[in-house]
């Protein structure tokens, strides 16, 4: 049985500092075993400005067994499968400790985006490119971020306008949109819940 009491507390803790971290965890449904995590692409990387969605499944033994996580948003990275979104990260496998949380795991994934480990690749093609032709790698990663990790092709002004039309203050709309990496839906959710 998943320790749902702990998951509840984790979710509360997580939403408390969402502003600062930009990391979000929300249940898919009433059943807390399936969740969705969102991490902003780290600044100064080809993932900057993107918002990456991660599918989270909690095994029965959670937190004594690691959560299962994979990218829903397509991402170009040596340790993440460009096909399936599978993540190669030690703390999601044998280095998992019950003292870690969903948030710390997501923070580690975010750190992985900043510091790829091409010697222990999940996606061999990407890893090859990273090692042999770094410039092309950066280009592709950035292109994927633009294409898949940004909410829509709508310009920011249009998003602001639509949200303001729903009755939110313009300054709040702008800061919220920024915090969630330009994702209109995320911004709306956050505006509604605040």
């Amino acid at each position: 049985m998943v320790d749902f009491a702990r998951v509840q507390k984790e979710l509360q803790e997580c939403s408390r500092d969402m502003e600062a971290s930009g990391i979000r965890v929300s249940p898919k449904s009433d059943n807390l075993a399936g969740l969705t995590g969102t991490i902003p692409g780290p600044i100064g990387t080809p993932y900057e400005g993107g918002s990456f969605e991660i599918d989270i499944t909690l095994p029965d033994g959670y937190p004594f067994e690691p959560p299962r996580m994979k990218f829903v948003t397509k991402v170009w990275h040596p340790n993440i499968s460009s096909q399936s979104g599978a993540i190669c990260l030690d703390i999601l496998k044998d280095q998992w400790s019950p003292a870690l949380t969903l948030k710390t795991a997501l923070v580690s994934i975010q750190a992985l985006l900043s510091a790829p480990e091409p010697d222990d690749p999940q996606d061999a093609v990407v890893a090859q490119q990273y090692l042999r032709d770094y410039q092309t790698f950066v280009g592709t990663a950035r292109y994927w971020t633009e294409s898949f990790a940004k909410a829509s092709s709508l310009g920011v002004e249009e998003k602001v306008q639509r949200l303001v039309e729903m009755g939110f203050a313009e300054s709040l709309v702008r800061s919220t949109l920024e915090a969630v990496g330009g994702d209109e839906n995320l911004a709306l959710e956050r505006l509604c819940s605040s």
Partner: protein
């Protein structure tokens, strides 16, 4: 007598045993065989705990450690006390401990017991719990008992009993086994037992010098050897095996040679080769068709003619060199070269296999004869005669069995040693030829003497007059000595002259023992002088191999765990 034959290749050699005992009283011609207590030990279910404790004790005493720390170290160093101590001497205590996950925080707060008056915030379940509902490990990390229990259960079920790490992230410390046992048994007594069994069996499974007896059905024993893994042993259940590869005893063949040989015999790959070389499937009905004569046009019983070289269907109109309307362009000579080679290989294999088989077959026949021969002995013993001692017969029989085995295994040895598969580039052709020649001389000499001995023992000596018996007796004793020496020389020759000069691969061979395969003796351990007096108080004096149940022993584990502190 056919009590433990397992499979076709494993013959019943257990009969060696009975005669072995008989050899003890006579025969001054076996040099240097100090009898009784062998260095090879049988570890039974009952003595496993004692055997393990012996090693634990020595490490606990030498490094003044608690038992679970000693066990963690020993598991990490695969129960190699010597290596563990070497690391200790060379790299110091700190590195020895940290490598194995033993944390030596000199705890201010006495281990694990916390007061019930304070509360503790468990970082795992994020709940406040009373101090007595939480446990602090040696590394200093403290969590509530429920969380520890869950963690232990998950790890035991994952099969990680031997190294359950602390729950804290990046903490490498191994959890105190007493805490694990205690907490888990409260919720899952059966799982706690499983945990104990894992720990106990680590002594066998992680230990280079200990192996489970490979008998089937398993006798429950393990065998511990002293210093050489390349040896042949006999378990107390009567099963004889090669300690290094766990198959039947096979010296002077090396383990690798034996493995290859068994596989070769099983696959009958040469036969398969023969069929592919000598027959070809008919392109019409697919039955194998054998080539007949030198002509390359062959015809199947179904009436189809085809080209032997390419297997394609053809008409029947042909000459010696070509078939009308058919051109296949196969290079004829290459084919024939391959055929030649395969044929040569096959004949070579057959040569060795026939001799190997002849000796194993003789061994089986002679084993059956044993009863008859021993009967002759008892008849003779009852006769009014000045001859009373017939131990020379049993000794002779034993020598016969022993040397038959050496002879039969010497053939697969020669097959690989002087063949091209393993040592092709290790010897020049001349060298190989000389060595092979010398080896075969030894082999033939041994063979002829063994056959002589076999004949002598089959004589109806119970019907003979005393003089004649005395004569046979002398011959048997002489032959036994000669044969024993020849076997010894063969092993020495292999070790020093043949394999000794080769650096490739791992071809350790169990040494020749005149007295045959060593019988492991029962292990008996008792806590004596070496054990610290503190521990003595809490340990039973009749421990060792007595009939105490494991459960009893574990309660002692507990006792001395808590009392060793002081």
């Amino acid at each position: 007598m056919e009590d433990c034959s397992s499979g076709d290749e494993a013959y019943d050699y257990s009969s060696d045993r009975d005669s072995l005992d008989a050899i003890e009283n006579e025969e001054p011609d076996y040099p240097g065989v100090s009898s009784k207590s062998s260095s090879t030990k049988v570890i039974t279910k009952e003595s496993l705990l004692a055997a393990q404790k012996e090693d634990l004790r020595s490490v606990m005493d030498l490094l003044s450690l608690k038992e679970h720390h000693a066990r963690t170290l020993l598991i990490h160093y695969r129960w190699d006390v010597e290596r563990l101590l070497t690391v200790f001497v060379e790299r110091g205590k700190a590195s020895l401990f940290s490598e194995a996950g033993v944390s030596m925080v000199e705890c201010q707060e006495t281990n694990s017991v916390l007061s019930s008056s304070c509360t503790i915030m468990c970082e795992i379940c994020i709940e406040e719990v009373l101090g007595d509902k939480a446990t602090r490990m040696d590394c200093g990390h403290c969590y509530c008992n429920d969380c520890w229990t869950e963690h232990f259960i998950v790890k035991i079920n994952e099969g990680q009993s031997k190294r359950i790490r602390c729950m804290a992230h990046k903490c490498n410390a191994i959890c105190d086994e007493a805490v694990v046992r205690n907490l888990v048994s409260k919720r899952h007594p059966d799982l706690a037992e499983k945990f104990d069994r894992f720990l106990l069996e680590s002594y066998i499974e992680d230990n280079k010098m200990v192996r489970w007896c490979p008998s089937t059905p398993h006798c429950g024993n393990a065998i511990r050897v002293e210093d050489d893994e390349f040896c042949e042993v006999e378990c107390s259940c009567g099963f004889q095996f090669c300690f290094s590869c766990l198959s039947e005893a096979h010296s002077p063949c090396s383990c690798l040679m034996w493995e290859l040989w068994i596989k070769k015999c099983r696959d009958e790959s040469e036969t398969v080769n023969w069929i592919t070389v000598h027959t070809k499937p008919c392109p019409k009905c697919h039955k194998p068709v054998e080539k007949n004569g030198g002509c390359n046009l062959v015809s199947c019983i179904c009436g189809q003619a085809f080209c032997w070289l390419c297997g394609g269907a053809t008409g029947r109109d042909h000459t010696w060199s070509r078939i009308a309307g058919h051109s296949c362009g196969r290079y004829k000579e290459d084919r024939e070269k391959n055929t030649e080679r395969a044929k040569r290989e096959l004949y070579r294999y057959m040569h060795y296999h026939n001799r190997y088989k002849a000796h194993t077959d003789s061994f089986k026949l002679e084993s059956k004869l044993k009863e008859t021969i021993l009967e002759k002995v008892s008849i003779s013993e009852e006769r009014e005669s000045r001859l009373r001692d017939f131990s020379w017969v049993t000794n002779g029989l034993y020598r016969l069995f022993r040397s038959r085995r050496v002879l039969s295994y010497s053939y697969p040895f020669a097959f690989y040693m002087f063949g091209e598969e393993l040592f092709r580039d290790e010897m020049s052709n001349d060298e190989r030829e000389i060595k092979q020649h010398l080896f075969e001389n030894q082999q033939q000499l041994l063979e002829s003497n063994v056959e002589k001995l076999s004949k002598l023992l089959e004589e109806p000596f119970n019907q003979y007059a005393d003089d004649k018996i005395m004569e046979i007796r002398m011959q048997v004793i002489n032959l036994s000595v000669i044969i024993n020496n020849l076997c010894k020389e063969m092993y020495e020759y292999i070790e020093n002259e043949v394999l000794g000069s080769i650096q490739v691969g791992n071809h350790g061979i169990a040494p020749y023992k005149s007295k045959g395969i060593e019988k492991a003796s029962e292990l008996s351990v008792c806590w004596n002088g070496k054990v610290s007096s503190t521990a003595d108080k809490f340990l039973p004096s009749d421990c060792g191999t007595s009939g105490k149940s494991e459960q009893d022993f574990f309660s002692f584990f507990f006792l001395d765990f808590y009392n060793l502190e002081e």
